[in-house]
Symmetry: C2
Subunit: 496 residues, 2 copies
């Protein structure tokens, strides 16, 4: 039986959220963040932003913007609480915000583990492979952008080819590069080709990410890219980049107060740029080993902070982003599994909407693994099923089966079982539950080997989603023109 590769619809999270703070504690974080914004202020290392803030009535001293609590709350009040995303295949449109969540693969890996599990520098062809896999994975709602960094292309031209690859090999929504303001404009121009300029004005089709430099700094590159997205009415993730203990206090609650202040300052700025434009409360969250300085994944404090950040985002009625299925392992061993699953369970129960880095992330983001990409996608499907919650539609029928079967009987042949077994219990394809004898007979493979075989099968079966040839030509012409215009030498920009 061929696997069903239909994309799952937007996750409507049916489980209650985990809220470890009482309303007073939420308010305590909220007020602490507003105090930070008023008293300490936030550095916007960008003349345009400083000028914008002055015009908006903020108290600007050199590069530090002191934000009055009333101004912040007024500004963020115009951010839409929900976003409807439009894919080039409209059957793959998704919703974000409230109880609606989507799974998005990892991005930004400078290395990959390839189809033979070799760790090496990725190429644009490898990126296409990941876009194809993202296209085929039912639980992934988006194909992202530079899942791996195409090292065979000059930095200055990469964003063009990355964007094209996102658009070409998958018909799901995708992310847009924000490595510079001009790069962001290129991405949005290409979106305008794919969807039409006026379509962008009224429909979210891509997502940009703007990382903050914690503590309390936003830089020119990120702000410029953010503005490009804001002006075209495309959503941006406002993501403080938190390495807990290194660039925040060594304590979860004050770290969240700082992160919340940082997110609010950028979210407020999006509304200075364009009132009513979509924006997403973001963050990248790690904790740091105080012994080595290394970032860690799946730690208890990351889970707790995700629960808390969810409460803050809901306090402001904003859609929010987190990072899913992170791992610090160098290989797809049990460590990667434990870390990734702990992260996923916490973020699903935190109620996060934009579940970035949902597939492939290992080695603290230094590589994307094909094997892990495939396994993570299946684990996301398991998480999706859990988060949907409990089905009650066949409760009475199930109880009738209890009466039919009676003490000491079994259910395997019962009509209710026959009618419901396919949907009743999730059966993972990559997780082996056979006997050890069967497992040995099949070659004693670990899940990594099974996943790589699965990836090979999927890629062999991949069918490219049809792209209008006229648009395809127009996109290629755009890339050719911009490649001529943009000097081939540039600085490397990273994004997480």
């Amino acid at each position: 039986m061929a696997p069903n590769l239909d994309m799952l619809p937007t996750l409507r999270n049916g489980l209650p959220v985990v809220e470890p703070m009482n309303p007073e504690q939420v308010e305590r974080i909220h007020q602490a963040s507003l105090d930070i914004l008023e008293d300490v202020g936030v550095v916007f290392r960008d003349p345009i932003a400083l000028d914008d803030w002055k015009k908006a009535g903020a108290d600007v001293r050199d590069e530090t913007v002191h934000l009055d609590r009333g101004l912040v709350m007024e500004l963020i009040s115009t951010i839409p609480p929900r976003i409807s995303y439009h894919a080039r295949n409209s059957s793959k449109n998704v919703e974000l915000g409230g109880r609606n969540s989507i799974f998005v693969p990892m991005t930004g890996a400078p290395y990959m583990r390839d189809i033979e599990d070799n760790r090496r520098a990725p190429t644009i062809a490898d990126l296409a492979t990941f876009h194809k896999l993202a296209h085929m994975m039912p639980a992934l709602h988006s194909s992202a952008h530079h899942i791996v960094e195409p090292m065979d292309l000059v930095v200055a031209h990469r964003h063009l080819h990355i964007t094209y690859s996102s658009m070409k090999y998958s018909d799901k929504i995708f992310m847009g590069m924000t490595t510079s303001p001009k790069n962001a404009e290129d991405v949005l121009d290409m979106c305008a080709i794919l969807f039409a300029e006026d379509f962008l004005e009224n429909h979210a089709v891509t997502t940009g990410n703007c990382n903050g430099n914690s503590p309390l700094v936003w830089d020119q590159v990120m702000l410029g890219a953010m503005r490009a997205f804001n002006r075209r009415n495309q959503p941006v993730l406002c993501s403080p980049f938190v390495l807990g203990g290194a660039n925040t206090p060594a304590s979860t609650a004050p770290a969240v107060a700082q992160l919340n202040a940082e997110a609010l300052s950028a979210l407020a700025y999006t509304q200075v740029v364009r009132k009513g434009c979509p924006a997403i409360y973001g963050h990248f969250l790690s904790t740091v080993s105080m012994q080595s300085g290394a970032p860690m994944a799946g730690t208890p404090e990351i889970s707790l902070m995700n629960f808390m950040i969810g409460q803050m985002a809901r306090r402001y009625n904003l859609p929010w982003r987190t990072s899913n299925l992170l791992g610090g392992a160098k290989i797809l061993d049990a460590q990667a599994g434990y870390e990734s699953a702990m992260t996923m369970m916490a973020v699903l129960l935190s109620g996060a909407n934009y579940l970035w880095h949902s597939a492939g992330w290992n080695e603290a983001g230094m590589h994307c693994s094909i094997a892990k990409f495939v396994v993570d996608s299946e684990v996301c499907a398991m998480g999706y099923r859990m988060a949907e919650g409990i089905r009650w539609d066949d409760f009475e029928e199930g109880l009738a089966a209890v009466r039919d079967v009676g003490p000491g009987g079994h259910y395997l042949g019962h009509p209710h079982t026959q009618a419901n077994f396919q949907r009743a219990f999730f059966i993972p394809k990559l997780f082996d539950n056979n006997s050890i004898e069967q497992w040995k007979a099949e070659g004693s493979k670990d899940v990594k080997e099974r996943a790589l075989s699965q990836a090979k099968r999927l890629l062999a079966e991949y069918e490219e989603p049809k792209l209008d040839p006229a648009k395809d030509d127009e996109l290629r012409d755009y890339i050719a023109r911009r490649s001529r215009e943009i000097p081939a030498v540039d600085a490397l920009n990273n994004e997480h």
Copy 2:
């Protein structure tokens, strides 16, 4: 620096519980379970139990006991909601019930993966190894009983040596064998030697487990062993053994209704045997692959059912048991990590009290792995830290650090960081977060190899907790006498 091997105190769970059912849905399950108990009834395959039930006023027809809802609710109302466990080292006493939870290692494995990761039949010496490790793991609050089955001993005498090993190599609480009524009596006689008979009368020192045969059957061996524990006032787990879809309806809500009816019937029976004796709402929960019949671990439905069962146990104000860190993988690969961590996160957030099978379980319980035992124990410590919840005691100091450091600074040298870094963020010992260069320099080891090295170090450092030589002699004499009395040929009894 030598690792701190002090046992963590009872987990006081500070996170809210995940409750996917509204009060009406809890009531719907409750009423459905009572309907099952009244109308379908439960088979007690045991003449003594049938006689007890008749005397208690139940409607007994052949072996089927129909339980009036009023009788069930009256009986379970006398079960203590909390249990204080006493260890032979009183600094390792723990509490169970309400928000108090304990981690207990796996039991019942017929195979093991040893210190070289070879899968083989275990011996009584191997069991001692696991008891030593359980003794040394801070997050484990108990040493359990037959973590692995000592295959080198005749079945009929195993319970004696297993119990002695539990008592000898660890001074934490332990579990008591329930493989037959007489075996249970032996365990309790040995507990009376270790603690004194009248101490048992007023203090919980061990835990028995009684598995049900779902659907709706309790057998003579389990009921006889249960009575032995009830009479000596020692807690029993009343555990329906659920393979969802095979011995329950293929649907989570009616499956929980059946499981709840089964648990209530045994819990009620404990109070027929001895009013007021401690008992724990138990279950073993798996879902079954409808393709192969294989039990699965870490599936979304297991998580959902754990959330639901927690709500039912709280509805009755009863302490409850679940299974933690289960895996179906044949080796300690990423599958085992994903499955185990998904299970742990769900059960911690379900509010379960007695977290059995918290370390070592893989291959659907067919083996206990030394490597996984050590890794799971560390993951339990991570889960413990998460479940403790958020610390607020240094919130104002943390905010003061934000003001001190200001935009663009860093926290590594700040006094608040210096004072708090050791407790602020959990740093796993077995999870590698170093750079790939460092990891390669250290031999490119996966977490399994690191765990086996760690296990070797721990066992080399193990110090046996002092046992009163007079009691030790008395225990040995008891075993010698009973070994003479019990014929060496017997049927194999399993327990999960």
